[in-house]
């Protein structure tokens, strides 16, 4: 079935970031130099091409943008300065909006105001919630160890409840988007039929890729992978301890440095800081192709995550040193950054790649192991 070419798609995608849409003369250099591309999943050129020609369906059903980890080799060696790497980045944003049924993702990506205001509203809500509606008076008493009694000030049970509510909201949004991704990329692709067994057999990939990001390590420059891995693991650990094990993690007792809470917390903090600094400095210096074109949404994510981390550190320092007001204020700020970040980024924006990436690897392997319905391309 022939698809209609459509120049409007370029205009549509353009809203997700500034690319060099027509520079490419299709020499295939980018695909050939990419260490991650493989038979059946040729990119970046083919994704670029689908976008250029306006082949919406091809694009939506493609997993390729998620298989790219943006090492930038393609862009560096591109003979036409067409920047295929950035195009893949933009396509990831576009696809995020394609999977998102709420339409918010598209709003956030294509309008900064939408995103800012949404974040701001959430932040204000948090400040109001923690700062003004909180019925507890400021508790100046310290624990025996001399730390601030934060759990008393902000009842941990309520916070945990809120945590869970937020997690469920975010997770359900994300899962529904992942299901849509699955539907568009696996089910709608009529060229392969995936058996149930494959779903089970390939499942480990999801886990492995989530934890190791080992595809990224196939890129030429291993440093990117390392810093990204630190960031990811730090983030994941932090996420897990504050959402799932909050009561265990956030107690009034001050743990000794070798106790797991402290170690996990420090590792996560280190991982986050290291990853964020590398990404941030890289972006400021525009060192390396992948940092050359930073979208505002990238910045927002980095800044909010950075602020969350910093405020978290401050809460920690203030708390163990018994600085009551500083602790409470920093905690409110921490919440005012963290919550909007999680709600905006996890299902609708940059963060979601943490989920889409391993799923893409998983789906790609499903497709590979699936029965070809017919030869898709003649040779």
């Amino acid at each position: 079935m022939s698809q209609r070419v459509d120049q409007s798609l370029v205009r549509e995608v353009e809203k997700f970031g500034k690319g060099s849409w027509n520079e490419c003369f299709h020499c295939g250099n980018c695909t050939a130099i990419c260490p991650l591309t493989e038979e059946g999943f040729l990119f970046p050129r083919k994704s670029y091409r689908a976008m250029q020609m306006g082949l919406k369906q091809t694009l939506a059903s493609g997993l390729e943008p998620w298989l790219c980890y943006y090492c930038g080799d393609c862009s560096t060696s591109c003979p036409r300065d067409a920047n295929p790497g950035e195009t893949m980045m933009i396509l990831r944003r576009y696809l995020t909006s394609v999977y998102d049924w709420t339409g918010l993702s598209k709003k956030f990506y294509t309008s900064h105001w939408w995103e800012f205001i949404f974040v701001l509203i959430l932040a204000v809500i948090m400040v109001i919630l923690f700062g003004f509606i909180n019925p507890n008076p400021v508790d100046y008493t310290l624990t025996a160890e001399g730390s601030v009694r934060i759990n008393a000030m902000f009842p941990i049970k309520w916070v945990e409840l809120g945590d869970w509510a937020m997690a469920i909201l975010v997770a359900s949004l994300l899962i529904s988007n992942i299901l849509r991704m699955w539907y568009k990329t696996v089910i709608q692709d009529k060229s392969v039929k995936v058996s149930l067994f494959s779903y089970i057999r390939e499942f480990y990939l999801l886990v492995v890729h989530f934890i190791t990001q080992k595809r990224f390590s196939k890129c030429e420059d291993k440093n990117y992978w390392l810093s990204h891995w630190f960031l990811m693991t730090g983030y994941s650990i932090m996420f897990a301890v504050i959402v799932v094990w909050l009561p265990w993690f956030q107690t009034e007792k001050v743990y000794l440095w070798y106790e797991p809470q402290r170690l996990l917390g420090y590792y996560a903090t280190f991982g986050l800081l290291f990853g964020l600094i590398v990404a941030g400095v890289g972006r400021i210096r525009k060192k390396g192709v992948k940092f050359r074109f930073s979208h505002i949404s990238d910045w927002l994510f980095i800044v909010m995550l950075f602020l969350t981390t910093v405020t978290g550190i401050l809460v920690h320092i203030f708390r163990i040193n018994g600085m009551v007001e500083a602790t409470y204020i920093s905690y409110i700020v921490h919440m005012a950054v963290l919550v909007p970040m999680v709600i905006v980024e996890v299902p609708f924006s940059k963060w979601s790649h943490l989920a889409y990436r391993p799923f893409a690897v998983y789906f790609a392997n499903l497709k590979k192991s699936g029965q070809p319905v017919k030869a898709s391309v003649q040779s």
Binding site: Q3, V5, Q7, N22, E23, K46, M53, T58, V377
Partner: protein, 581 residues
């Protein structure tokens, strides 16, 4: 007949020859032959004293044949011929034996090398015996030039020649000058005004007192040869005029391919499908609209129409890719919102500034779609009412590997170029040949791209093969250079060692006529003999060996000379003797 007196000179070339060949022995042995008046060996024959030696011997001893045995004749034949001339002897009464490049330098056995040297010198001796004095011949050049075709190539050639103050007759079949370029709006890659540039050229031609322009004129007949051509023309199809000129420039250009023979493109069946040349008209008028007056929202440009496809023409028409890019840019500025599609095969943007135009076009939101010009061609069909466009073009897109359809309200077919219908007639008139594609054949595809095998006839511009404006102009001027060269000399020297027909022997079988690549041989109907036009002959000698009667002799390489040379080579053991002349 005067007695033959031969001087033989054997060169040492320092040690180059002497090391491997006993030159003294060679000279001694050759000296024994009758008619050999003197046989010397000398260190450097090519040096001034060496040449003096020969000159003095010619003068003192009355030598009338000279043999030098030294290096390759490709190096010093001319040197020694000049020495003979200096001594007052005809330079062709000379023969060279190559005992360096083909003897001393390639052998390791001194005895064998010396033997070989003797053979070679003896062979030269036998050959030179039959040498005849030959004289350089020249043809006077009529300084006027005929240029056939008033396109940019023809005009450029005319201007270049006229600029040197020489007469040019410029004959154009159509009503006005300009040819194909007159149809263009802009030129590629600079997007300059074709019209301005053309008008400038036409004005210069019309103003030039040395150019006589005949428009609306056909050439009835051309006869003659280099330097002395004549033609009959009929200006405005009225009474005939005869013109005399020394050289001819053929600049008849080409014509465009008729796309109605390609069923897929439905040219002539659907209203808004245009050839590139029709589209130029729209660009000039500033009105790019459909037949019903609405501007198109989708414009598709299809490349390689009639080119690079065995069903039509196998060759590439060279200019269409760049023209198509030019259109894309012009469309983009005239219709900023329109979707523009370039359906191309290979983007041939190879001239100076062309790749840059391609990349500029790429940046201007033009969708490039690649098809296989040899595979199934794109098909244009009428769109349905819900398609929001007039036509749909379906094709297999090669860069995405997908079957796609392209919406279009207007389709521009980049028609290829082909030789004109009357090319054969022109070729016949001026005596040049055509290749399989009916373009005229140049004398040498690399080093002589504008001359033809017929002396004094030059082909320039697209009649030789498709080309763009600057290349056509370069060719036109190249021809002008050649013509100005001959005019400056006033005459051309023609080959000395030509073929010649002995009419006493020629039986008129006409075997030789087709053998000659230069059409130098013609058949004289009255005498029933062949005739070599020695102005056209280049002296290859192929006719001489094709002639079954022996009527054709090839000067300086006659049967007798060569047979004698063979005898000289082989008869080493017999008593030294030379046949009497």
């Amino acid at each position: 007949m005067e007695e033959v007196k031969i001087g033989v000179y054997v060169c040492w070339c320092g040690t180059n020859i002497a090391k491997m060949v006993d030159v003294e022995e060679v000279a001694k042995e050759i000296g024994k032959y009758p008619n050999v008046v003197i046989a010397r060996d000398y260190k450097y024959m090519c040096s001034d004293p060496g040449q003096e030696l020969i000159i003095n011997d010619i003068k003192k001893l009355g030598l009338n044949r000279v043999v030098v045995s030294a290096c390759s004749p490709r190096i010093h034949e001319l040197t020694f011929r000049k020495a003979l001339e200096k001594a007052g002897l005809n330079p062709y009464l000379f023969e060279m034996a190559n005992i360096r490049e083909q003897d001393s330098w390639v052998h390791t056995d001194r005895v064998e090398a010396t033997r070989k040297a003797k053979d070679l010198v003896r062979a030269a001796l036998h050959k030179v015996l039959f040498h005849e004095p030959l004289s350089e011949r020249t043809v006077e050049i009529n300084p006027a030039t005929l240029v056939i075709g008033g396109g940019i190539a023809g005009m450029s050639a005319a201007l270049e020649i006229a600029g040197a103050g020489k007469k040019v007759y410029l004959v154009e079949k159509m009503e006005s000058l300009g040819g194909m370029m007159a149809r263009l709006d802009l030129t590629f890659p600079g997007l300059e005004s074709a019209r301005d540039n053309l008008q400038l050229t036409v004005a210069r031609v019309m103003k030039d007192p040395n150019i006589e322009v005949y428009t609306n004129t056909v050439i009835r007949d051309i006869f003659g040869y280099v330097g002395n051509f004549e033609c009959i023309i009929s200006p405005n199809f009225k009474e005939d005029i005869s013109l005399q000129f020394g050289n001819v420039v053929v600049a008849t250009g080409l014509k465009t391919f008729d796309p109605s023979v390609i069923p897929e493109y439905k040219y002539g069946q659907l209203p808004d499908i245009y050839t590139s040349h029709e589209f130029e008209g729209m660009l000039t008028s500033g009105r790019i609209v459909r037949k019903d007056g609405r501007p198109p929202e989708n414009v598709a440009i299809i490349h390689c129409v009639g080119s690079r496809n065995r069903n039509y023409h196998e060759y590439c028409s060279r200019v269409c890719c760049m023209t198509a890019l030019k259109y894309a840019n012009q469309l983009r500025s005239a219709l900023p919102e329109a979707n523009i599609f370039e359906i191309y095969a290979d983007m041939r943007a190879m001239g100076k500034g062309c790749e840059e135009l391609y990349s500029l076009s790429s940046r201007r939101k033009i969708m490039f779609l690649m098809f296989d010009q040899q595979g199934p061609l794109p098909v244009i069909r009428k769109a349905g009412s819900r398609d929001k466009c007039d036509y749909l073009i379906t094709l297999q897109e090669k860069l995405s590997g997908q079957d796609i359809e392209v919406p279009a309200d207007m389709v521009i077919l980049m028609v290829g170029t082909e030789a004109r219908e009357d090319a054969k007639e022109v070729a016949h008139q001026v005596g040049i040949s055509m290749c399989g594609n009916a373009f005229f054949i140049e004398k040498h595809p690399k080093l002589d791209p504008v001359a033809t095998t017929t002396n004094g006839v030059y082909i320039v511009g697209s009649c030789q093969g498709p080309k763009d404006i600057p290349d056509s102009i370069s060719q036109a001027r190249a021809a002008a250079a050649r013509i100005l060269g001959t005019i400056a000399q006033g005459s051309v020297t023609v080959e000395v060692t030509t073929a010649n027909v002995n009419e006493e022997l020629c039986c008129g079988c006409q075997t030789c006529i087709k053998v000659c690549p230069y059409t130098a041989i013609s058949f004289k109907e009255e005498e029933k003999v062949s005739f070599v036009n020695e102005i056209l002959c280049k002296g290859c000698g192929t006719c001489g060996s094709a002639c079954p009667t022996g009527a054709i002799t090839c000067r300086h390489f006659t049967d007798r000379q060569l047979i004698n040379q063979i005898e000289g080579l082989m008869r080493m053991d017999v008593e030294p003797e030379l046949k009497e002349v």
